[in-house]
């Protein structure tokens, strides 16, 4: 036992930069990844499920262990752990950047998957001259031009003088192209799309928000008070009137608009939102457990 406790554990995750071990690990990892990829491609469908279930469990288990396992305090990367508990804690902590990078890389693949899906759907629509195929042409042209100018702009900023391009006076063709597409078109179109919501809200408020019951009356009155409190000028005048009438009376000062709205926020709004958050949290926990243990067959389960 003493031998185990005194054993020195090699820091697997922190090989020196450009070292032989690091390169061996990188090349080994790459080959291992290719092998896994090929293996999954040619694996019979019935064997894929246990592989996905195992990977999901290991992925989830890492975060659970990182959260609950005691982590070594103030331990440097170059320090060696003593004892099994410290070794496991250090292993989990040191693995963190690697796991974060891997999960980030896997997540980034979803972008590629999205582009692939978009291309396959819209190219098919264009080649078959399906309904509204012209819109697909516009979409793909927008995708290609935004990607081209975005990437060209990015590349132009990679040199030692890249920061000079922060000033518009130093811009070139690709920088102006990106600015036109991104700031000039995309941002404005996004803003226009969002502003449409205002018309729906106004129309809904006018046609649907009726005080037909006691509950609706309470809801409407509360909403009106909170909305009025957002109008600085109204709140200012209301508060001023209450202050003058209250003449220092602490109880009457509670009837300032900002006080009433604050009370509504602190009591009803916060408690109800907290209740919803608890419900969502418990639901997420249950769903997380089901996915982690591969009990969930839909939405990504094995």
């Amino acid at each position: 036992m003493n031998l185990i406790l005194q054993s020195k554990v090699v820091n697997f995750w922190a090989q020196p930069f450009n070292s032989q071990w690091l390169w061996t690990g990188v090349i080994g990892g790459l080959l291992f990844g290719i092998l896994i990829f090929l293996g999954l491609m040619f694996m019979p469908a019935q064997f894929r499920r246990p592989v996905v279930a195992f990977s999901t469990f290991i992925g989830g288990a890492y975060w659970v262990l990182l959260y609950i396992f005691p982590a070594p305090i103030d331990m440097q990367k170059t320090e060696l752990a003593t004892g099994p508990v410290e070794s496991v804690g250090k292993f989990l902590t040191d693995a963190n950047p690697v796991v974060v990078s891997v999960s980030g890389t896997v997540t980034a693949f979803m972008l590629g998957l999205g582009i692939f899906s978009l291309l396959s759907i819209h190219l098919k629509r264009i080649t078959r001259r399906q309904k509204d195929w012209a819109f697909s042409v516009v979409l793909l042209a927008a995708l290609a031009s935004m990607a081209f100018f975005g990437y060209a702009d990015y590349i132009s900023r990679q040199g030692p003088d890249g920061t000079k391009l922060d000033l518009q006076a130093n811009w070139g063709f690709v920088n102006y192209g990106r600015d036109l597409l991104f700031d000039g078109l995309l941002q404005q179109m996004d803003a226009a799309m969002f502003s449409v919501i205002a018309f729906y809200i106004l129309s809904a408020a006018y046609r649907a928000f009726r005080v037909r019951s006691v509950e609706a009356t309470i809801l409407l009155s509360t909403a009106l008070l909170v909305m009025l409190s957002l109008m600085g000028a109204v709140a200012f005048v209301w508060n001023d009137a209450v202050r003058n009438m209250a003449n220092g009376n602490d109880f009457l000062m509670n009837f300032q608009l900002t006080e009433i709205a604050g009370w509504i926020r602190r009591t009803f709004e916060t408690s109800s939102l907290r209740g919803i958050a608890f419900g969502v949290g418990i639901g997420a926990l249950a769903m997380g457990l089901r996915i982690w243990l591969s009990l969930e067959r839909t939405g990504g389960g094995a």
């Binding site: 975060w63 990182l66 982590a71 902590t93 963190n96 950047p97 796991v99 974060v100 990078s101 999960s103 980030g104 890389t105 896997v106 997540t107 980034a108 972008l111 990679q158 040199g159 030692p160 890249g162 920061t163 922060d166 000033l167 700031d183 995309l186 941002q187 996004d190 803003a191 969002f194 205002a198 018309f199 809200i201 106004l202 129309s203 408020a205 006018y206 928000f209 009726r210 005080v211 037909r212 409407l220 009106l224 909305m227 009025l228 957002l230 109008m231 600085g232 000028a233 709140a235 200012f236 005048v237 508060n239 900002t258 604050g262 926020r265 602190r266 709004e269 916060t270 939102l273 958050a277």
Partner: protein, 318 residues
């Protein structure tokens, strides 16, 4: 049937085109005539301002810039105000994003515009590498912020930004990140967001570093939960929060003006100065009157609709 319409019916059946034209007029006209609307800042906004002002010059804060086009109306103004405060106080920033791949670039563009403004005002430029570094976008926000809880250095490992004359260089070689390993090594983490990244930040980093938010108006109520439970130290919510922040930058807190009047009072803090005479107004002052009129119109629409319903029910004929 048209001739038999009661006044109540008329009130209930205004054509939507009329409503839309009124909305366009109500929201567009104030944009051309910016006026200073009287305002009482919310406590959460005062707390945000006080915490930003409490960071010592030369310190480095973490800044999660998780907003892009869709919430530009609120988030850009909030970002500009927060950055103006940091720039004027000589506070450095490490900018990262877990919300959107476009976010780091949008933030850099905003800083570039603020720098143009500073240079025009003969103020020192807020320099990349020396005053701020951009560590870029992290595609898996949950894992990244979780990793930051253990070690910021590990989470930002391998990220590069421009060093003057050297090109892309590891961000940890920047003087503003020297000796910073953990999230607790930063005096403040500010999240400017239009998405759920604020929730992830609270879940993973609460208690490890003081956290402050600037969120959209829609996110205000749920963010209020974190504020009340003291998981965050302050926040600005939507245009109202932005207008509060811009006002606080002008007036300060418990800070007498030239005539000795204290515009914003708070029992929680001592005198906190503002930046009178500098460019403090931005999107808040420009858009707040519009919000005012839009909310007023919304209230009016609800009242008209309900009055119409009551008149129709009571059977009053025109």
């Amino acid at each position: 049937m048209e001739g038999n319409k009661t006044f109540g019916d008329v009130l209930q059946s205004l054509p939507k085109q009329v409503l839309y034209i009124i909305l366009i007029v109500f929201t567009s006209v104030p944009l051309f005539f910016p006026v200073k609307v009287p305002n009482q800042p919310l406590e959460s906004s005062i707390d945000l301002y006080a915490n930003l002002m409490s960071v010592k010059p030369g310190e480095t804060v973490l800044l999660a810039s998780d907003w892009t086009n869709s919430t530009r109306g609120e988030s850009l103004g909030q970002f500009n105000s927060v950055m103006r405060i940091l720039m004027r106080r000589g506070v450095n920033a490490v900018i990262y994003s877990t919300g959107d791949p476009q976010a780091p670039r949008v933030a850099q563009d905003a800083i570039a515009k603020l720098n143009v403004e500073r240079i025009a005002a003969k103020q020192p430029e807020y320099k990349r590498w020396e005053n701020f570094v951009s560590v870029g976008f992290f595609s898996n926000g949950e894992a990244t912020v979780n990793g930051m809880a253990t070690s910021v250095r590990s989470s930002f490992n391998g990220k590069k930004d421009f060093a003057p004359g050297r090109g892309l260089t590891d961000v940890f070689e920047s003087p503003i990140l020297k000796g910073r390993e953990k999230v607790a090594d930063f005096p403040l983490l500010i999240v400017i967001t239009g998405s759920k990244t604020s929730n992830i930040t609270v879940e993973r980093l609460s208690g490890k570093v003081p956290i402050a938010f600037a969120v959209t108006g829609v996110m205000g109520p749920e963010t209020g939960n974190f504020y009340q439970s003291q998981q965050i130290v302050g926040f600005a919510s939507g245009l109202k929060g932005l207008y509060d922040l811009e006002g606080l930058m002008e007036d300060g807190v418990n800070n007498p003006d030239k005539s000795g009047n204290v515009v914003v009072k708070s029992s929680k803090y001592g005198p906190i100065p503002g930046f009178p005479g500098e460019k403090n107004d931005g999107q808040g002052k420009r858009y707040y009157p519009t919000l005012h009129f839009a909310v007023g119109l919304l209230i009016l629409a609800v009242i008209i609709g309900n009055v119409g319903m009551f008149l129709s029910r009571s059977g009053g004929r025109k």
